[in-house]
């Protein structure tokens, strides 16, 4: 009996299962309780509409209403351009900064700052700076570039600007962190074989940067997707920037319709997973290979 138990333990240990794995238990249990359970609970709640309605009544109601359904497009119209701009600007900058560059430490330090400001503070700053009497418009008017102040706050532009200010540094740091890990020997090898700088970028460095770019694109999209404070503060929360998180919030805390709010949260999750999955599929088709260096 005792011998059998020991041999079982040994056999499990061979497969990597031993007491050390108990260390995973608290984290897994807590995330199960606080992340997985609420999701399942929310899914269940979303399928309990008012009496008489079909099980998927909340979803039907959401997609039947133009006012609610349009929030998906409004959110994507902000999140996709924001992610594209943040990642698109980050690629050349990260390419340039990836090696040993002067002031690199200072630049990266400055880049982390906006991430700590948070969306609320950036939104508050934008209202003033981008506002009709803010410095931005004052400079444009003084230079004679515009006759009347541009309307940059309380609309789409303001929210997009706030998403770039908080999102760009994060995208750049992710891509830069990954690009700095690319083995410089690979580019040297390409140069030795006669590849022009442009060719080296396109055929060697860029493909190697792809995994970092993919992760950055996904995280940039997800961060932009949850625009809530900036959509309310510098946006037009009743109109063009009534994003899906506002719809969910209003359902939960203004109409106290928790089943509906849960349904909207599930739709949000589905849209995010669809886009994130799409990005990973595209990346898988474009490039398969190791992330850093050809030889271990």
């Amino acid at each position: 009996m005792a011998e059998h138990a020991r041999s079982l333990r040994e056999r499990l240990a061979d497969r990597g299962i031993d007491r050390v794995l108990w260390l995973l238990f608290p984290a897994a249990a807590l995330l199960g309780l606080l992340f997985v359970y609420p999701f399942v609970y929310g899914l269940g709640l979303s399928l309990q509409p008012n009496e008489g309605a079909p099980v998927i009544g909340n979803y039907v109601r959401f997609f039947a209403s133009d006012f609610e359904r349009s929030t998906i497009w409004k959110t994507l119209a902000l999140a996709i351009p924001a992610a594209a701009i943040n990642v698109g600007l980050s690629i050349p900058v990260a390419y340039k900064l990836r090696g040993p560059v002067r002031f690199k430490r200072l630049i990266t330090t400055l880049l982390v700052m906006p991430a700590t400001l948070g969306t609320v503070l950036v939104a508050e700053g934008l209202i003033r700076y981008f506002g009709p009497i803010g410095w931005f418009n004052q400079v444009l008017m003084t230079l004679g570039l515009v006759d009347a102040p541009l309307r940059l706050t309380h609309n789409y532009v303001g929210v997009l600007a706030s998403l770039i200010i908080t999102g760009f540094p994060l995208s750049l740091l992710l891509i830069l962190g990954h690009a700095s890990g690319i083995d410089p020997d690979l580019e040297r090898a390409a140069a030795t074989l006669g590849a022009e700088p442009r060719e080296r970028f396109r055929r060697v460095v860029l493909p190697l940067m792809m995994p970092g770019i993919t992760i950055a694109a996904v995280l940039a999209f997800v961060a932009a997707f949850s625009v809530f404070p900036s959509a309310v503060m510098v946006g037009n929360p009743a109109g063009e920037t009534r994003v899906i998180s506002i719809a969910a919030y209003q359902a939960a805390f203004e109409r106290f319709d928790y089943p509906m709010a849960s349904a909207i949260a599930m739709i949000m999750a589905a849209v995010q997973f669809a886009i994130v999955g799409f990005v990973f599929v595209i990346r898988g088709r474009l490039y398969r290979g190791t992330t850093s260096g050809a030889k271990g």
Binding site: L24, F35, K96, V101, L110, V112, M113, L121, W135, A248
Partner: protein, 288 residues
């Protein structure tokens, strides 16, 4: 794109201004210029007697800080913010570090599935799970309590600690643990006397980064906090949202205090970590 000719030394960078160098300067220049102006605007307004349609305010004063302190119960909000921040940092390290250790040291069936569970909270916008989470917390009478806010903030913080610490622990030589065991140290002693001292830099960096995230985390705290558990960022949102009845200078004074609160841990954190190394371990370059 690049104008460096092939007669140049192929991989030299930093000398001369190439097209990519120009992009770098222009993109970063515009970005930082606007950012600096944006922040300066908030700071200047918080000291302004009045400021309307002129390049600079009419006069300067510090009274908005006193005013904001009284009106927004700033001391209490600051206290709440730090209690929540400290609790989240402590608990996420306590729970996340052992998990990171197990992931760094063991290969086992189902590991990928577990990794997915740990990564998902980072791959979904907080407001998506925040809403069902808040509803579930109401069910257990935890919403609108300090415990509820702390629990909600643990959801992204624990995975964040795991993602940061797993590569860090992988770097620690396992032979050190084996040696300690050979000398007769118990598992607990190995942890306390060998592993934890070696992990201190990683733990500090992860803890500070979690603190920064908690300070900036709006959605989860907003959804789960009652009036008594507002952190600075949530309190700031409410004051801006209810603007119009309050002088903008007082709101900006509060914003400046929030900014300083977030900057202090950041400056400390940057002494320990290189931000580009947060994501990937970087191969030491020997460019010559």
């Amino acid at each position: 794109m690049s104008v460096i000719s092939t007669t140049d030394r192929p991989l030299r960078r930093g000398a001369g201004v190439s097209a990519t160098g120009l992009i770098l300067i222009v993109v970063l220049g515009i970005f930082f210029l606007n950012l600096a102006a944006l922040i300066l605007g908030v700071v200047l307004n918080s000291f302004a007697t009045s400021w309307f349609a002129t390049p600079v305010p009419a006069g300067l004063t510090t009274r908005w800080y006193e005013y904001a302190g009284e009106l927004f119960q700033l001391l209490r909000v600051l206290q709440t913010t730090f209690v929540i921040g400290a609790a989240v940092v402590f608990m996420s390290l306590l729970i996340g570090a052992p998990a990171a250790y197990a992931l760094a040291r063991r290969q086992f069936p189902g590991k990928r599935l577990l990794m997915l569970l740990f990564l998902l909270p980072l791959l979904v916008a907080p407001i998506t799970y925040g809403l069902p989470l808040a509803t579930a917390l109401y069910q257990f009478d935890l919403a609108g309590t300090m415990a509820g806010v702390i629990l909600a903030n643990l959801v992204p913080s624990i995975p964040f600690v795991i993602v940061l610490l797993t590569p860090f622990i992988e770097q620690i030589d396992e032979n050190l643990e084996r040696a300690a065991r050979m000398c007769g140290a118990s598992t607990l002693r190995v942890f306390v006397k060998v592993l934890i001292p070696l992990m201190v830099p990683g733990l500090l960096a992860a803890g500070l980064l979690v603190l920064i995230r908690v300070l900036a985390m709006f959605e989860l705290t907003f959804l789960t906090a009652g009036p008594g558990e507002q952190t600075l960022v949530v309190a700031l949102y409410y004051t801006v949202f209810a603007a119009g009845i309050r002088p903008s200078q007082a709101i900006d004074a509060m914003a400046v205090i929030y900014m300083l609160t977030a900057f202090i841990p950041l400056v400390v954190a940057l002494r320990f970590v290189d931000p580009t190394q947060i994501v990937a371990r970087i191969k030491q370059e020997n460019v010559r």
